[in-house]
Symmetry: C2
Subunit: 82 residues, 2 copies
């Protein structure tokens, strides 16, 4: 089976408070960066997946996100397979 | 000045060990996902930046990465402005 590279972005859903992002925003402000707002921190994963085709890889990584990589109560995820 | 949305991916450089990624790989294996390898975890940021144009926003976010968002000794970053 071919190996495909999957890239996953996990971000907090809108409306979920992000104190870490707020801290980064204040730190950037303190460093002199003006005009920065709405900083949100998320996670990013890269993984190699063996699958018969792109659709199968996408389905497999979706299952991984639902089970382990993301907390779907408060997080969204976005998958890109290449 | 218009506000632009910047997306930043911060990843470990090749050759830098990623024990967190390895732990995720083992956890996925334990959950029954076969054929997963080379899991790498990174960080992801979304921020709004005020800048005169896209190039200025890109330059500003590059400076933020160098100063705060990434540890350039062991990490790479990728910026996308829209």
């Amino acid at each position: 089976m071919p190996t495909m590279k999957a890239r996953v972005k996990v971000t907090l859903k809108n409306g979920v408070l992000d104190p870490q992002g707020k801290a980064i925003e204040h730190a950037l402000d303190g460093l002199g960066f003006d005009g920065v707002s709405d900083v949100r921190q998320g996670r990013y994963f890269e993984l190699d997946v063996e699958a018969v085709d792109k659709a199968a890889a996408q389905a497999s990584v979706t299952a991984m996100c639902d089970k382990l990589l993301a907390n779907t109560v408060i997080e969204n995820y976005e998958i890109e397979v290449s």
